[in-house]
């Protein structure tokens, strides 16, 4: 099975993250880049599916040069090879444009199953899986907490507020995962050494057949108009129990329309 895992490099959520004042895009120099957390689960799931069914795991990343760190890590976890879509013209692309660019690459390299995290910790739009499936004309199996593959049928448990749905589709497909699905492995030293020799193919827009007019900040369909720091958290309300604590709590909750 030809499994492609989409991996995005994002600023480390453990450090302070900033937007650049110049064009309201992410200031990538201000924080360390790491693999988007949910994408680690996607990599792990890709590896497990390969271990169970055979085939190959390819990492697909769109991002600037420094994203190669994240690609290396994904390879050291056990992926076989990587494709890195890197081009200055991609800077500032929004979710719609990104889905176009990545779909072009997926068409070019081919896939049976494209796996990705259900959202990224930076932009948090959570629409990429759906947009990719639409552009590629294949089923989308989203928010998977469990995956089974049987021939060309994919069955998942899709988490919901009330439990889970069972969803079934056929390959080729796009699969997005949630963190319940597995526990990602840490790279071993053997994996780290092996990763040094694994092929990483760099693609420019031209290589991937991407129309430059359809990507980049200038043509983005959404725009960050303004941004500000989150306001500091206000002090909470302390309810003192003077025999009527229960009633006061109920009043408070009722005032906020919780009860």
């Amino acid at each position: 099975m030809n499994i492609v895992v989409l991996v995005k490099q994002v600023p480390d959520t453990a450090t302070e993250r900033k937007l650049s004042a110049a064009d309201s895009t992410l200031d990538r120099a201000s924080a360390d880049g790491v693999i988007n957390e949910l994408d680690e689960y996607a990599i792990e799931e890709g590896l497990r599916l390969k271990e169970a069914h055979g085939g190959e795991v390819t990492i697909l990343t769109m991002g600037p040069d420094q994203a190669s760190d994240s690609i290396r890590k994904a390879l050291s976890m056990g992926a076989d090879k990587a494709v890195h879509l890197v081009d200055d013209a991609l800077h500032g692309s929004d979710a719609v444009q990104t889905s176009y660019a990545l779909a072009q690459v997926l068409k070019k390299i081919g896939f049976d199953l494209a796996v990705l995290g259900s959202e990224s910790t930076d932009a948090r739009t959570g629409v990429l899986a759906a947009a990719l499936a639409e552009r590629l004309g294949v089923p989308q199996l989203s928010l998977a907490s469990k995956v089974e593959i049987d021939g060309s049928t994919v069955r998942i448990q899709r988490i919901t507020d009330y439990g889970y749905d069972r969803v079934e589709g056929s390959l080729p497909a796009v699969l997005s995962v949630v963190e319940k699905i597995n526990e990602p492995r840490y790279p071993s030293f053997k994996g780290i050494m092996a990763a040094k020799k694994k092929p990483v193919e760099k693609l420019s827009l031209a290589d991937a057949g991407i129309d430059p007019a359809l990507v980049g900040l200038a043509g983005a369909t959404t725009q960050v108009v303004d941004f500000a720091d989150a306001p500091p958290r206000e002090a909470g309300t302390v309810v003192k129990d003077e025999g009527d604590g229960g009633a006061k709590l109920a009043e408070f909750l009722a005032a906020k329309k919780f009860v």
Binding site: Y186, P187, F189, K190, I192, M193
Partner: protein
């Protein structure tokens, strides 16, 4: 940034360091306090360390190892100890004392029999040298082993043996007197005793000042019989063999010490920015700044010392003196930093629930285990040729 030592590490070493750093933060930090409080062995964490290949780091792939080197092990120990020393010493003892002698001195058959499980971390190895009557004076070993009908019969007691009594302990390599030389000097050999061998009992579990989540036991051997082929290395070479084991182990303990020293800096950086007194963060006071600056200087220089010793070891150069220096200064740095970090934390530093409280309790043993600081000074002086016979260097 304090997160990135740099020093021009090779890519693969730097990647490993980062992976272990992430592991320690995500898998060890949130849960270790509870194990420590209960003095319980962290089987779950050890299993995850095994899955990540840490126990196989310096061993060739043919035995289930990772094909790395001893320096890779040191980096892993440093990053683990930056968060917690109990898990770090479990790895150190498992690899450097448990598996390494089997790899270095074992026959092909012995390696094949024991190394795969030890490399996978599914089983642990231990090394029993210290006895109730003394650890420093290893030549005074009392434990005996004699050949009887194709078996070694072992009698004696070992104390303070790390990793020797867990549910997953596979074996303990013990040093024992197997005869007398011409002038009555004891002939010391190393013999592998698998866990569960009749006559081998794991005695009391100690109540320790620190390293509470690591396993340390007294071992009693009474008419304990193992096959003759459990002799590790040459008969009569047990003493020489463990000296080599200890030279390497010193570099590993130095790395572990640097981790603890750096962990103190990490904690103080965070706390001194958050904690306020008299209307400002305590990090604004020079008294605190200087403490942290000293702590960083100690961690940094101690790291250089162990990097140097490890580099010489890997290059096949003599490294006895450098290993002793690294262990001496690094354990010292750990002790000093733990004391200062506790001071920076004030009363909270004395609470077990804060990492610095654990660092304080875990630091002292570093000046004792695998050769006391006095021993390190003796070794350095000896290498310099200082002694009753006068200086070799002059």
């Amino acid at each position: 940034m304090s997160d990135a030592p740099g020093y021009g590490l090779a890519d693969e070493h730097e990647s490993l360091r980062r992976a272990v750093r992430e592991f320690a933060r995500a898998e060890v930090a949130p849960v270790i306090g509870d194990y420590y409080e209960r003095a319980a062995f962290p089987y779950d964490i050890v299993a995850k360390m095994g899955a990540m290949g840490l126990f196989g780091l310096p061993f060739p792939e043919e035995y289930g190892g990772m094909g790395g080197d001893y320096f890779a092990l040191c980096l892993a120990l440093e990053e683990l100890a930056r968060v917690d020393s109990s898990v770090a010493i479990t790895l150190e003892a498992g690899v450097s004392l448990g598996a390494m002698p089997v790899y270095r001195f074992g026959t092909e058959e012995q390696r094949g029999r024991w190394l795969p499980d030890l490399c996978a971390g599914t089983r642990l190895g231990a090394f029993g040298l210290t006895e109730p009557g003394g650890g420093t004076d290893a030549g005074a070993t009392r434990t005996t082993a004699r050949l009887d009908g194709g078996q070694w019969v072992i009698d004696g007691t070992k104390v303070f043996i790390t990793n020797s009594g867990t549910d997953i302990t596979a074996l303990v390599t013990v040093t024992a007197v197997t005869g007398r030389g011409p002038e009555g000097r004891p002939e010391i050999s190393a013999i592998v005793v698998p866990s569960g061998t009749p006559g081998f009992t794991v005695g009391q579990k100690y109540s320790k000042v620190g390293w509470s989540a690591s396993d340390t036991n007294e071992l009693v051997f009474a008419d304990c019989r193992v096959p003759a082929d459990h002799l590790l290395g040459e008969r009569g070479r047990g003493y020489a063999q463990f000296l080599r084991t200890l030279d390497e182990g010193r570099v590993a303990i130095a790395a572990l010490s640097v981790g603890l020293a750096q962990g103190c800096v990490d904690e103080c950086l965070r706390y001194s920015a958050e904690r306020t007194a008299f209307g400002r963060a305590i990090g604004g006071y020079q008294a605190i700044q200087f403490k942290i600056a000293d702590m960083e200087a100690r961690a940094h220089t101690a790291r250089l010392a162990y990097y140097d010793a490890a580099a010489r070891m890997l290059a096949g150069l003599p490294f006895k003196k450098e290993a002793a220096i690294a262990k001496l200064v690094a354990s010292n740095a750990a002790m000093d930093n733990a004391r200062d970090a506790t001071q920076v934390f004030g009363g909270y530093g004395f609470m077990n629930e804060f990492p610095v409280g654990r660092f304080y309790r875990d630091a002292k043993i570093l000046e004792i285990g695998e050769g006391t600081s006095e021993v390190q000074r003796m070794l350095i002086a000896r290498e310099l040729g200082v002694g009753p016979e006068g200086s070799r260097a002059s």
